[in-house]
Symmetry: C2
Subunit: 328 residues, 2 copies
């Protein structure tokens, strides 16, 4: 089959369209004929050689696919060839075929395209897991989201607006993205180059601070994040683009009853992922089915243009998801 | 009324038995004729001048009482004069009378003495809140408890054994307390002076580490705690006796999906405390009612001997709770 392969680890230029063996299904897995996949930030890190896939997962890039079920195991009861599906996978999305665990697959709503369906698993699932299941966002609370137009951030804005009432959404973003972030549902946008975002959050919340902060910046944002995290607040750490070491004041998190939660999706066990997807299917998929929210596609490229797609993501000029189409 | 007062902040000698005005009930409160109270570590810190009571609470020491309801508000529906009760209070326990919020009061089981009932609120509630409600300890997991014979620690050992199946309980304690800690329900005891407790925990758990760690030591234990906290583990910080600053590796808590939870009981709102007590009443009180667990009293003193009681706690020679009796 055709797949995007790596000559070496490095910049976008190391990727090329080549031939790879079709993946083999293990028990409990389903073979999917891929129609679309999408680019996620971890793909970049993996391409650079800094994020090896978990044991047993494909070395090919790509954490999610949409397509049609091609083949199932004898024991399979839920899926059958021909089903339109999308799936979370541990790797292998940039290819004509991919395997997924049966419990990591969901049905594509009737009105939804393959391109749209390829945008849901990694970002909406990440946003749902971290802001809701771990962060516990509830009606009337304040959430601070970093990351402007990124996939997880835009998904989080949509989910916060759709799943809770009276949530105050504060977003840090580059100045060029302010309008679109507001349009998507944010109440306040703070310029991300403004280092005093903590003061601005405290001002907006009349000193109370945020109930939930979703952060992928890491070290350099840790002190300001803690400064504007409210009593009982939760800081969910899902990335460390600025570094990994931070100074923690234990007395302060005690007195303020705060939680610091580290979270990643990819290395979780098959069962853990299936359980998160079950919850997502029940609580979030109805929003897509009833078109209350819609996957936000920034750009589409054919698979062979993976290089351009990665260059775009690294430029941070996109707003929403970057899709790679295999069969359009 | 008689109460233990402070001449000044300082050592145990600043306490004396003096006269104080009887506390006045606010709406929603109940006046209790105190029979017993107990000494908790925060009493020491407050006596030293380092832990002011929350606004609106008595400045008199003492975070819990047992006794008999003396007077209730007109609106009171749950309690009536003559009821044998025990209560969590924000302060004011070292006295002949104390006021408590109606929702922070529980009925004393028939067979239980006032001295025993005065030992439940602060330590068992703290252990329950942190190990179960926040830590989420579940059947088959491993818990690491620091603090040998202290009130919270001994309560936590009893609750872990009684509320979960197949929990592996590892305790750090001084060598003189090993036998009693084992008798109480611990599976493994590690000498607390052994700085490599993290290695020992990893050895006991075949490398997996602990699922829950309850820590009141703070800074100096932070690195070893993180070293032996397992994947998905939770470190609950309830004290900082060794200091407050620690270096956090954000990448590591992400990859291991760990949570660091800061927690204190005293500054929580009236409603939050009532809700914790409701849960405690349903899930823990039946264990006391059916004598499956019993409050562990180390020593009893009359109220006027508060100085000796504090000296004992500061010597850490006790095992379990130190009770002060007002009317025995």
């Amino acid at each position: 089959m055709q797949a995007v392969l790596l000559k070496d680890f490095g910049g976008p230029e190391v990727m090329y369209l080549g031939q790879a063996p079709q993946p083999e299904m293990q028990d409990g897995q389903v073979l999917i004929k891929v129609h679309a996949t999408s680019v996620n930030r971890p793909d970049i890190v993996q391409r650079q050689g800094n994020y090896a896939p978990p044991k047993g997962d494909s070395e090919i890039l790509g954490l999610e696919v949409s397509g049609v079920v091609e083949q199932v195991c004898e024991s399979e009861t839920r899926w059958k060839p021909g089903d339109r599906v999308f799936a979370l996978i541990g790797g292998g999305g940039y290819a004509e075929y991919a395997v997924a665990h049966s419990g990591h697959i969901m049905a594509i709503p009737n009105h939804m395209s393959f391109a749209e369906a390829a945008c849901i698993c990694e970002t909406y699932l990440t946003a749902y897991l971290n802001v809701f299941l771990l962060g516990g966002l509830a009606d009337g609370q304040t959430v601070l989201l970093h990351g402007g137009g990124g996939g997880v951030n835009t998904a989080a804005i949509q989910l916060c607006r759709a799943l809770c009432n009276d949530v105050q959404i504060i977003v840090t973003a580059s100045s060029g993205k302010v309008e679109r972030v507001i349009e998507l549902g944010a109440d306040f946008v703070i310029d991300y180059t403004d280092e005093s975002f903590a003061d601005r959050v405290k001002e907006i919340t009349s000193g109370a601070g945020a109930d939930i902060i979703l952060d992928h910046i890491g070290a350099s944002y840790f002190a300001p994040n803690m400064k504007c995290l409210g009593v009982g607040g939760r800081l969910v750490e899902i990335g460390v683009t600025s570094g990994i070491k931070a100074e923690l004041n234990i007395a302060l998190i005690m007195v303020k009853r705060q939680q610091i939660i580290g979270s990643t999706l990819r290395p979780r066990s098959v069962d853990e992922k299936a359980s998160i997807i079950d919850s997502f299917q029940s609580n979030v998929m109805p929003l897509f089915e009833q078109s209350e929210i819609k996957p936000l596609i920034s750009h589409r490229f054919p698979l062979e243009d993976a290089k351009r797609a990665h260059e775009l993501m690294e430029s941070s000029q996109h707003f929403g998801k970057i899709v790679l189409e295999i069969r359009s």
